[in-house]
Amino acid sequence: MSSAAPQTFSNSQADKTMLAVRDLFCERDDRVLFKNLDFDLPEGQVLQVQGSNGSGQTTLMRILCGLNDSYEGSIKWYGQEIEEQAASFFSSLLYIGHRVGVSKVLSPVENLRWSCSLKQAVSDEQIMAALKEVGLRGFEESPCYTLSAGQQQRASLARLIISPASLWVLDEPFTTLDSKGVAMLEKILQRQAQTGGSVMVTTHHSLSIAELTLLSLG
């Protein structure tokens, strides 16, 4: 078993595997979504999960985050079961799902102030800089119901820029983005991989990221 602290991106060869999934089995409404699913997610990699509609991509992402517990098999975080080190796992995890976690009545700044401080302390300068980077300059204080779906998505993705989390789990983050937004997000994902973090992402886009590996479901 590993003894390294999971928080730091260690350089030792032994602890390169961030997430190890073994023999994962999930059934939904008497239909097997996946069985005997094995994969590793090492540090510094972007893992793209692919599959036809209904093949359980979202379910897999939610299982990995601990939002869904109807599965069998083992999921290890740096060599230990996730339940044994929940606090450290959750502070290293950033999840953005289909429902992006942006309240429509609040502005992007107010949304980020809350969703970021659930993980760590965050300053307004950081938030402003992140919103500028995702192209929401000028919309910082507008209520999110006045923004388009793509802009709301961007407001949610601004968390990626602020977050020091080492594992990002992103469920269809590209859906509402325009081509500029897609390029921007690819760049952000690449940067995360190059600084030793990892990303799990479901999408049907073909991504142009060097550190990419593919996982096919169903």
């Binding site: 985050c65 939002l67 959750f90 309240s103 102030r113 809350w114 659930l118 302390a121």
Partner: protein
């Protein structure tokens, strides 16, 4: 460790602030239950009798039951929109204890839905011809009782937030659990009217409040996890 505690309190405060901000921006959610409360109480003198003797007798009960009904109306806003926009998932994935985050949401809910009702209750008590010596007891009992209703209601909302059509299920779960508060709340006011000390009933309510504060957020948190699953 201390650093972790600081960030937990920061997350608690951020959640409290956010919910107050949302309530402030969605004024309907605050104003509607409050107006409902005032209107329901006003209907009793019209429907039963404007005679002060009769009204005095039922005043405490009328106010307490109306508070219960109004709190039912306001409960739904507690987790509903968070569930729909995905904020609830972010809340559940926080490394901080869910207990404090849920407690922050409950406190904010009470501040915008319970507290205004408590503050306006002497006015309605006056309208129902409740003798003025009982105002203090009424306000105190509501001050202890309304947070309990927010905390208990929170469990029921958390359990039902994932259901498509909830209809009356919320009231069916919550109202029976609120019966003890109703009993002690009205008895406290009644005993003041009979020139007895209401302290016994009020301290029982204080005990119920302490138990709810320490246990209900745990139950709400567990229920939220089930609903999101």
């Amino acid at each position: 460790m201390t650093e972790k505690q600081t960030t937990t309190s920061a997350a608690f405060l951020a959640t409290l602030k956010r919910d107050l901000l949302i309530a402030f921006k969605k004024k309907n959610d605050i104003v509607n239950p409050f107006m409902f409360f005032i209107i329901v109480v006003s209907l009793f003198p019209i429907g039963i009798s404007p005679e002060s003797d009769r009204l005095t007798e039922i005043a405490a009960g009328v106010i307490w039951i109306s508070v219960l009904l109004a709190s039912m109306l306001s409960m739904d806003s507690l987790y509903r929109s968070d569930f729909e926009d995905g904020s609830l998932e972010q809340l559940l994935l926080s490394p901080h204890p869910l207990f404090f985050l849920v407690l922050a949401k409950n406190i904010s809910h009470w501040l915008v839905s319970g507290l205004p009702v408590v503050l306006v209750s002497p006015l309605l008590a006056y309208m129902l011809a409740l003798p003025s010596e009982a105002y203090g007891t009424l306000v105190l009992s509501l001050l202890l009782g309304t947070p309990i209703m927010s905390l208990i209601g929170s469990i029921a909302v958390a359990l039902t937030v994932g259901l498509g059509s909830r209809g009356l299920i919320l009231a069916v779960i919550t109202l029976p659990m609120s019966v003890p508060i109703l009993i002690f709340g009205t008895l406290a006011v009644q005993s003041t009217l009979n020139s007895q000390s209401p302290l016994g009933y009020l301290s029982l309510m204080l005990v119920m409040l302490s138990v709810s504060v320490s246990l209900a957020p745990l139950a709400s948190g567990a229920a939220l996890k089930i609903s999101v699953n």
